[in-house]
């Protein structure tokens, strides 16, 4: 049976690694915390990118997440994995940031976070423009989901966590996660079908059952 990414991360990296680093960081060793940061920065960044969707700077959210982790490290009792604990902080930070930004009124309506640069070696300018349009469409679809649905969709379908792992992160029963994921997938599918910028996703899969029939 294939391992989930979180399980793979835990098994491949020796669980003691994170624990040892956390123990050192709790004693005030900033170098150990820097190692934890380097190890988890990519995952937290990717998760925050999708949790924030169309609002808030990802860099700010990620930094706030790790600052909060450092501040509260003495309260981390090791009852859950550090990854789980950090994921929980990231979720609270991202949604807190979104809510705070939602209360602000931006002059000229420029409240949305600009799209990141998507330049990469080997990409033509046209490909970059298309990538930016695709990114905008993805953000719109994710922004259309409620916080609960977006969280389970991001954790389960984008980050690849199993439903028990998502349940552990969110502190809810496994059955609740499965229900939310079911509704989240339906909402995503409906939003994708309604979005003209994502029509190629549907083309790859062919018409839906019942579509195109008299």
């Amino acid at each position: 049976m294939p391992q989930t990414p979180l399980a793979h991360l835990v098994s491949s990296r020796a669980p003691a690694d994170d624990e040892a680093l956390v123990a050192r960081a709790r004693a005030g060793d900033r170098a150990a915390f820097a190692q934890l940061f380097t190890r988890h920065h990519g995952r937290v960044t990717a998760m925050c990118t999708r949790l924030l969707a169309d609002r808030g700077r990802v860099d700010d959210a990620v930094q706030q997440t790790f600052l909060e982790a450092w501040r509260c490290l003495h309260r981390f009792e090791g009852r859950s994995r550090f990854t789980t604990w950090l994921t929980r902080i990231a979720i609270h930070t991202c949604f807190g940031l979104r809510r705070r930004l939602a209360r602000l009124v931006f002059v000229g309506g420029a409240g949305d976070e600009p799209l990141p640069e998507l330049e990469a070696p080997g990409r033509t300018p046209e490909q970059m423009v298309l990538a930016r349009a695709r990114e905008a469409a993805i953000r719109e679809v994710l922004a259309s989901l409620s916080e609960k649905k977006r969280t389970v969709f991001v954790l389960a379908d984008l980050e690849g966590l199993s439903s028990p792992e998502v349940a552990e992160v969110l502190g809810v029963p496994d059955a609740t996660v499965r229900t939310r994921l079911f509704h989240a997938r339906r909402a995503v599918a409906a939003a994708v079908r309604a979005h003209p910028g994502l029509s190629d996703l549907l083309d790859q899969r062919g018409p839906a059952r019942g579509e195109g029939e008299p």
């Binding site: 900033r30 990717a46 423009v129 995503v188 409906a190 939003a191 079908r193 839906a208």
Partner: protein, 330 residues
Amino acid sequence: MTPRVPTGDDDAVAAAFAEAAAARRPSRFETARAGRDLEGALDRMEARRVRALRPVAAATAVVVAGALGVVSGLAMSGEEPNHVAVVDHVGQTSPALTAFDAVATAPPAAVPPAAPGVPPPVLVLEVPVPPSPLQRPPRPTHGWRDAVASLQQAGDHAGAARALAVALRSDDDAAAPLLVAMRHAPGALHDVDEVLAPVQRAEPMRVRCELGLLKRRDRATLEACRAFAQQWPEHPGARVLAFAAGRLAEDELGDLAAAEAEFGRAILLAPLAGLPSTDALLARARVRASLGVLDEARSDLRLYLHQEPAAASEPSVRALMVRLDLANQD
């Protein structure tokens, strides 16, 4: 109204969307830069915490001092309690209560009895605030400042520049003084370049590139800037210097291939530097048009106009659009 679709297809569409939406993981350079930003934020947070602790420490000292006054008063059998002055020390390692314990457990005989008409003794209680584990050790100081100052006072600006270059090999703080000193010692450029050439650290490499762009503007400068950008792409100055090197190659060296490479590098470094790359896009479109690589030049110009639509009315941009047959497509 969003269309309703059968459940089975929902899963397939959601899976396709999840595949497309998998967010890009940051590169190691981006992680390194974010780590540096976090270091600064942790420093600021820690400074705020220490500032907030001082009043708490003082209040704790007053409470402790009050208790001490009671203890001392009892020990002196009805004498007037001591006056207590509180000294707040940052940087001591012993916890606050250690000082209290040491004084409170001292034998009562150590306290001199108050004579009639003589003011009661003042007890100075030092309440240390324990140092934060986040405090960094002080930066090592280098003795080059005095040497440079004496050389400059003696009017030996070239010697001062050389001394600063040697200092820069191990201390980044010498970078800014060196750039200033070079204004007074243009003849020391070759010596400074020789001193800095073997060093692979970011600041010396950046200074070498900058000095070349300011003073020499030759092919060696181009090489120095290229080496810097390749070695330290995450450096905040890498993009600007790559763009400047491109201008040098295009305008003064006439090396269009090198100019195209440098502008391309500036475009790629833009996401790392957090700066827009539109100027480099326009410059690369111009160079590519001169090289005869018209399709790529059009691509660059289209992307530039997509990001800067207002620039289409500028004469130089308009001329390039006409040259690339894009004027009729806007």
